[in-house]
Amino acid sequence: MYKLELDKVIEEIKNRNSKQVLIQLPDGMKQKSNKVIDEIEKSTQAKAFIWFGGCFGACDLPLGTEILKIDLVIQWGHNKFNKEQW
């Protein structure tokens, strides 16, 4: 099992006072997305949504989320990366 760190996620949502949260999971973890949403909705006031598409890395973040008034994107399976400069 991979650590979902839901306690940390809940704490971060509360601390940031996030109103609309988008979760993004890699393919191997997408089957856990309902569990994550259920926990967020149970433990916080935030509305939570699931990114339907790809999650290839920290290089691959959902775009256009401002239009939907998403204020926090949570991505699993990756950490901070350093973009190569060209």
Partner: protein, 247 residues
Amino acid sequence: MVELLLIPAQWEGEIKFTQELKNYLEENNVKSIALFASVQFTELDNLKKEIENLGIKINTTKAKRTNAPLQILGCDSYEDSFEDPIIETSDLILYIGDGMFHPKALLLAQINKEKPKPVLILNPIENKIEEIDQGNIKDQLIRTKRNLRMFVSAQTLGILVTVKPGQQYLNAAKNLKEKLEKEGKKAYIFIDDTINLNQLENYPFIDCWINTACPRIGQDDIVNIPQPMINLREANDPIKALEDLEK
């Protein structure tokens, strides 16, 4: 402003030093290892101790795009992706993780080497090992050479740019277009989010494509499409890239 939170999703289970791994290391008389892992499996203190107890030296480096010790990303797939040349100075590359995407990066990083090192995968979920070698990327090598030759003779080029922030290189694409057009070629820049290679067939006027997004598109996905495609870094000096592969 949208905020971002990254959860690495560390593996909860124990990463075991299996008898199968011990046997492999002893049978192959391994004296030194270049150790890599995907971010879920980077807590390896116990495993490292067990390996060192066999008298094997463990070499580590930092892959340039990463921020966790031992970590490798799928885009660390070129020789210069690492701060130290530990692949050359080790007998074996040991990768801890599941799937083939990351360990194949370690093969691709040696694609131009005369004596590439095999990669041994320890999958801690299944507690199994598997060795992969250059045979696993043979098709990529053949296709990359063919594509480089086709790029050199192409007259009309298509440069692919993604809007994904971590992979977006529009300025580099514009610079490349200018360079190509100074050489008498014609280049068009195409923009998308996830690069859908099925779209290529809609642009039959393009002789060869240049990918500026994830480099694995121009290293792996090229074997699944008939259209020639190379990566941005090869486009800057295709002749040298070809010579390196044909050494």
